[in-house]
Symmetry: D3
Subunit: 137 residues, 6 copies
């Protein structure tokens, strides 16, 4: 069993808030992260897959394919976007690093399985000081 | 003459566009950077000052003071904000890295001179792949 | 189950030696790390906690709280200190990266549990070339 | 149980291809990675070992010894070399990151066990965007 | 006057040697860098241009154009190539970081001037420990 | 004219204080940096030299020689040492990053000139957030 990880990046705006809460309650719970005019990040995404090495190629998976799947299902939907407003798979969800990591996992799980590899982990850096990791259920 | 540089960071949303241009024109010129719903970055700011070492302390300037000035005049105004909407010194200006770097320079020049040091350079990273530098006029 | 990691840093002096050993024996075993006049590091600490996402906030834990706990129980005791002389929880212990990582784990385990999260891992970088990891007993 | 990781680096040339395949087939499968004139990388290697802390030293293993073993069995054979042509333990094998990581594991497993530690993981970065991890069979 | 820097990367094989010297002489002068079977690096290239900000766009130069010029004139010629054998502008030249940096400068100077910006500096990292800088003649 | 930079590192203890000042005065001026039991850093040193490329080798200077000079005159004196107590060229001087950078410059200027290169700049990082630069008088 070998593990391969691919790094990708996206630059996005977001905001932490609950519509059903007052501005004051949102500010109390989420602080500056609830700024109604949004803020943003250079998110760094590490996608780890595992499986057996293909003896013909020495590859677990051709990284061009891995990169293409991540771009189609994740990066193109998030890069230079607003996580709360523009991203289909984040509609009605909190735009926290935790939730974003789990939803990115759900986007990639099936397409990667169809390529013959198992999605092991999503690691998502919001800043150089914070990251979330999700291994599926 | 010694040079001292302090790194600070801020996470902000922004958008590149001209109000007097149509959406199509903005998209043509600024591409995905003109997304009407904003996007964002972890900006990395390096402030370089120069001058003579104080023989009593071995310091050019106490870094606590340098950090405090950068926070009051720049970081507190930009961190977790929208560069286009929330920042007094960016009103009516393009929110490009180039313009932001020059305006940060203008914010810091006088307060640093009042502390006895000369502002030498502003270096502003928008991503790990792009940065602007401004040395004043 | 989601994992969240917070990075913190501290700058400290330390020395590797056993009081009951001669200077020669200490030099033989610990080499330059036993310098009687100390040396030091910019330690980089990654604290990983896990648990369930709070559906109200999208958080595992508010990072402000996580940061505050790490500061009170670890950083304030270690930053700009001497690991051998100044740190209550390191008294009578070897100031190696391995031991320091395990003792930081013990400092944080209970306070984090009281916040409703499980301490999963302490990762401690002594330099960019060496780090220790501890997952508890 | 404590884990210690040591980072080492080597700069090497390599090429992905199968001798029994035509140039066209190699180009189709491996793309620019099959360039007959080679290309190369600054490989970054992280070797993680685990075991119990020695109560006398506070060490899992003296990092000088860990470093020496990695140099003798891996770095000296790979640094400033051609992975396909110059490296004894890669003869007849695909020079992919996956295969290289597993073969480095095999080089280090026994010598590290003889030092009283268990080899836990090989992590090998080919670029800042790709890495392989291998934990043994 | 504003300065903008763009980072690009390329992975290449190379070798330091003089054809008119014996293998022994080459090994004496260039050491392991003269390995006849080549070695390689992940080169990191920083291209700095300067000029005036365009008041319409807030740009010095559209980074998409800067990136495209660097790719056409430099990256496409060097990435996954052999610096000594495959690169037109390096024929008959030493493949040292110093020479490579000056030749990259010469490749980019005119195309960038035609875009209305001045090429200020080429900074080329061979490893994280070594880089060359060239500002033109 | 070409510029070459070499990165080296050293781990050292230090303290900011003036012997002729009271403990209170030292604490007032230098804060936690005056801890009588010392603290420490992983210092990162970048030494930049300039001159003409040697047409025989393509080198400005053989990096093995540059590295050796930095080790003999600087790293061996500072690594795993106490900057205030153990370092001959820092006796009686403030152990600030500014002063240390200027004194390292003075250590290297003559030996490098004797190798036929000009010392252009010393850049010294105390942490990832602070660095000093010195270009000579």
């Amino acid at each position: 069993m070998i593990y391969i990880t691919r790094r990708e990046q996206f630059n996005a705006a977001h905001r932490l808030f609950r519509e059903e809460w007052s501005d004051d309650k949102n500010r109390e719970v989420f602080g500056k992260c609830s700024n109604p005019n949004w803020h943003g990040h250079n998110y760094e995404l590490f996608v780890t897959v595992n499986g057996d090495i293909n003896p013909d190629t020495g590859y677990l998976i051709d990284l061009k394919h891995l990169k293409e799947i991540i771009r189609v299902y994740v990066i193109n939907k998030l890069d230079h976007k607003n996580v709360n407003l523009d991203v289909d798979f984040m509609q009605g969800k909190m735009a926290s690093t935790e939730v974003l990591a789990t939803e990115i996992y759900r986007q990639l799980e099936v397409p990667l399985r169809e390529q013959g590899v198992n999605l092991h982990k999503i690691q998502l850096f919001e800043t150089e000081n914070n990251y979330a990791e999700y291994y599926g259920d």
